[in-house]
């Protein structure tokens, strides 16, 4: 993992533009028209003009005879036209053409979109042409490489096609592989596989704009079942530690409604077939398995979510808010062997402090009832690093010795971003993230617990890169997590 880190770092250095830039007049950012900055004090008092937003200038008077899309390779014409704000038969409106062009750029399917007008078949008619250059839409969603005491090496990869079939659908898949546990070569390999399909915007006549999705997963994993998080009595040989071996196979169907440009409400049904057995020293008095039904069981749940995301950029947001609320309800009514409910609130606001982007992150979650461990909260997932044996999971596989899953978890964090001057073809943008988080969790509602760690605060210094194949996070906090 350090080799990859180094490789990215050197690429970053190579991509830093050189040259003397200091003395040139600073151009405004690409998206500036009406500066909001207050007037600086200066000796000049004359009135000058600033370019402004469009526009109520006199119209051309031309009618759009047809709209032509050039340069499409994978994207379907109908999927692209759906996002245009101009139709054949409209009077040519520059502002609507510009907004259409921006909209296409924001879809992320194209690296370039140009609009122009050509003569139509008769005087007064024009052909509106959009010329596009498609961009890569396959991105890396997960890149996992880790090590723990009981698992010297594990890794995985996730990929997603963000414009599947050229219709704006998302198709993704990921895996993590850990092999057989250390010292137990005859045991089954541990792995997690996950696949998903998502249609974020399906216009259905009479119903509005819908959201639909489906996912499936298969996991084979183990949770060490020691009374102490570090499994200290077995530190010399973790192969003798008690454990719970489990398999999960499941799927999820989602249907939702886009209630506004930035909001959607989703309803999902999720079913998990679970098989769990106790292995090793299960008869020992300190056998402490995480919550699970031994033998075969079903976890079946309805999940209702509301999401709002108005951030102006997923990579380096300077404005906007992301909010999510989710309720999970599992019951025998749905064929579940587990009776529980789960509540989750997440929030992230993006704004600027001293001119630099600052993110405030909050999360609080609670579980009531007989929830399996994988529907509870693993505190290390919420922190940058954990002082202690816990380590954030990979596709829900836990390779640490700590199998404490909690009924309540809360996290608050701040992350400050310092943009780096990188504008390469591969490393398109980058910033240095400086973050701090506090995590509180408890094993049962209203109760205390053994501390998630002796030090529930964590911090991070990370380099984040935006590339054509996804955004990457080179995190010192994670590296530290492997050492602590």
């Amino acid at each position: 993992m350090y080799a990859l880190l180094l490789a990215l770092s050197s690429l970053a250095v190579a991509a830093v533009p050189g040259g003397d830039a200091a003395a040139a007049p600073a151009p405004p950012p690409a998206a500036v028209a009406e500066p909001a900055t207050p007037p600086p004090a200066g000796p000049v008092e004359q009135a000058t003009a600033a370019p402004a937003a469009p526009s109520d200038e006199e119209p051309h008077g031309y009618v759009v005879e047809k709209i032509v899309l050039r340069g499409l390779q994978k994207a379907r014409s109908a999927a692209v036209r759906r996002h245009l704000r101009v139709r054949a038969g409209d009077v040519l409106d520059d502002r609507e053409v510009l907004l259409s062009r921006l909209r296409l750029l924001q879809l992320g399917w194209f690296s370039q979109v140009e609009a122009r007008v050509e003569r139509g078949s008769a005087r007064g008619l024009v052909v509106l042409v959009f010329e596009v250059v498609e961009r890569n839409t396959i991105i890396v969603t997960d890149l996992v490489l880790g090590t723990t005491d009981p698992q010297p090496l594990y890794g995985g990869l996730g990929l997603a096609e963000q414009n599947f079939l050229g219709r704006g659908f998302a198709l993704g898949g990921a895996f993590v592989y850990g092999g057989a546990p250390l010292g137990r070569p005859a045991d089954p390999d541990r792995f997690a596989l996950r696949g998903s399909f998502f249609a974020p915007d399906l216009p259905i006549r009479g119903l509005g704009r819908l959201v639909a999705g489906a996912g499936a997963w298969a996991l084979r994993g183990e949770e060490l079942a020691c009374a102490r998080p570090g499994c200290d009595p077995f530190a010399e040989d973790f192969s003798r530690a008690p454990r719970v071996r489990y398999r999960r196979t499941g799927g999820e169907l989602t249907l939702g409604l886009r209630t506004s440009a930035f909001d959607r409400v989703l309803a999902s049904w999720r079913a998990d077939r679970v098989s769990a057995v106790a292995v090793g020293a299960s008869s020992l008095p300190d056998f402490a398995p995480p919550p699970i039904h031994f033998g075969d069981s079903w976890a079946s749940a309805l999940v209702v979510s509301w999401e709002h995301d108005s951030r102006n950029d997923f990579f380096l947001p300077r404005d906007g808010l992301r909010l999510a609320a989710q309720v999970t309800f599992a019951s025998r009514l749905l064929g579940s062997d587990y009776e529980f409910s789960r509540y989750l609130l997440q929030g992230e606001s993006a704004f600027a402090l001293l001119g630099l982007p600052l993110r405030l992150q909050l999360q609080v979650g609670a579980v009531q009832g007989d929830a399996p461990f994988f529907d509870r909260f693993y505190a290390a997932d919420l922190s940058y690093f954990a002082v202690g044996p816990a380590l954030g999971r990979a596709l829900e596989l836990n390779f640490s010795t700590d199998s404490r899953y909690d009924a309540f978890a809360a996290m608050g964090g701040l992350e400050w971003a310092v943009p780096l001057r990188i504008h390469g073809r591969f490393l398109q943008r980058a910033y240095l993230a400086i973050g701090a988080r506090a995590v509180w969790s408890s094993a049962w509602l209203g109760g205390g617990r053994t501390a998630f760690s002796s030090f529930p605060l964590s911090a991070d210094l990370a380099l984040r890169f935006d590339t054509p194949i996804g955004a990457f996070n080179a995190s010192l906090g994670y590296a530290l997590d492997n050492l602590l």
Partner: protein, 218 residues
């Protein structure tokens, strides 16, 4: 495509704010010819961009849609980044695909309502864009005491954050999904919710270093 509004009192404020707020850019070519003069206590500049204006710029403006070209002329002290005086002229350019004419409205502090030109060739458009005479850079006292350059920046179709916000939508995949993993190289989910990648729309040109006593009275 983004026509300018008539100049207002925001004036230099907007210009200087735009000039100061953004990251520095590199000059596009060698020194441009600039002539400074003093008139009625003000410094006026004449700038000729004929030799440096990109050849494809006028034809880029012939897309049949309304285009805005904002041209800034600024006095920048050597070693400093912030201009001490500035002038801005905005061209509103519209090529009529049927008439094959260029209608250009030029707005600057002297003609805030705009001067309208109807041009019949790219060469005429190029000539109009390339010459700036009588650019009022403000009171002579505003010139920096030390050496400075006269810098010219051209923005083509600048886009406001408000416009970007008007077209933004939340179209990402399933958020908050289960099984997200954390790793030293973990990808951050999300793709569609992003600022568009725009081609570089700014050009910067610079004069040779000048000194305040090189500004003759006219």
């Amino acid at each position: 495509m983004t026509p300018a509004r008539p100049p207002g009192r925001l004036a230099l404020a907007a210009t200087l704010a735009a000039l100061c707020a953004a990251p520095a850019a590199r000059a596009e070519a060698g020194p441009i010819p600039v002539a400074l003069a003093r008139r009625d206590g003000h410094v006026v500049a004449a700038v000729d961009l004929t030799a440096v204006l990109p050849g494809e710029l006028p034809s880029r403006l012939g897309n049949g849609l309304r285009n805005v070209v904002a041209l800034y002329v600024a006095v920048v002290p050597i070693g400093g980044e912030e201009p001490t005086a500035a002038f801005v002229r905005v061209f509103d350019v519209l090529f009529d695909v049927w008439e094959e004419t260029w209608t250009v409205t030029v707005r600057d502090p002297r003609t805030p309502g705009g001067r309208r030109h109807v041009l019949r060739s790219v060469d005429a458009l190029r000539a109009l864009l390339a010459r700036v005479d009588e650019a009022d850079l403000g009171p002579a006292g505003s010139l920096p005491p030390s050496r400075f350059t006269v810098d010219v920046r051209i923005d083509v179709n600048p886009i406001s954050p408000e416009l970007l916000a008007a077209t933004r939508e939340y179209l990402a995949g399933a958020a908050g999904g289960r099984g997200a993993s954390r790793s030293v190289l973990g990808a951050v989910a999300g793709f569609l919710l992003r600022e568009p990648e725009e081609r570089e729309q700014s050009l910067v040109f610079r004069s040779r270093p000048l000194s305040p006593d090189a500004v003759p009275p006219r």
